[in-house]
Subunit: 155 residues, 2 copies
């Protein structure tokens, strides 16, 4: 239930040539409190409710609990969410032994492209493709919960 | 997914003689925003996550979504909740065609006893036992989410 993730900016669109899958994601938040975020997500045709806790000091580890729910239920719950729906396409890029998940944002966050890689331990090495930019792991303003309140275009 | 409920104060303990069941409930909140409350509950040995929306003008109807979860998961999520855990015993009192759910609170809400009855339509009549006191339907301060922030003993 604790995830280890690193997050990076993406500097160009060449990752799209390596993507094996792309999925539309629409999500909202019932609370954006970084210590207890509650997210409602529709990913493709499936709904999810996800709760995330506080990050550790390095921003690498974060408690995460997720349950799949019916997309009709997710749609009803999305209506309850705070203003600031997140709309993005997630690309999956497998490289060596990891999978990069790259989010291309639309709407109020258009222009932002972020890559995440999930690791099994903190010191794990991962490939560094040419499109991978500055690391932003643990930077709260890049949390989707914060992007819903203070979108990229307002920065 | 919309519930019709009326809520009343309870004036004495005679309801306990009519109770057919009693269950310990411990619960906390990830957000107490009355428009999108997120509650984590352990009721007996079972966990629940419940999301409630805004009440209608009369305070009778409120959107409610609930999922059963493992009690171990509920325990992990309770640790993420805002300060102000609610601890209570719920008594079930069946009378005629309805069931009153009566909550006797402990801890910071000790002294408060509240009865709820779920109705199938807004005009439905229900029995009025001797122990039933003043109606408090829709009064936000009696929401458990508010009792966790501003408990009864501080009123």
């Amino acid at each position: 239930m604790v995830e280890i993730e690193r997050k990076f900016l993406v500097v160009d669109e060449t990752f799209k040539q390596q993507a094996v899958k792309q999925t539309r994601i629409v999500q909202g938040f019932l609370t954006t409190d970084p210590e207890r975020t509650v997210r409602i997500r529709i990913k493709g045709n499936t709904g999810f409710i996800t709760i995330k806790g506080k990050s550790d000091a390095e921003g690498l580890e974060r408690f995460e609990w997720e349950k799949e729910i019916a997309s009709t239920e997710a749609e009803a719950l999305l209506k309850l969410c705070l203003p600031g729906t997140i709309d993005k396409i997630r690309y999956e890029v497998p490289l060596e032994d990891v999978v990069f998940e790259i989010d291309e944002f639309f709407g109020a966050n258009e222009g932002l492209v972020v890559a995440e890689v999930e690791l099994t331990h903190k010191q794990q090495k991962h490939p560094v493709p040419n499109w991978l930019g500055k690391e932003v792991t643990g930077e709260v303003k890049y949390y989707n919960s914060q992007l819903s309140k203070k979108p990229f275009k307002t920065w």
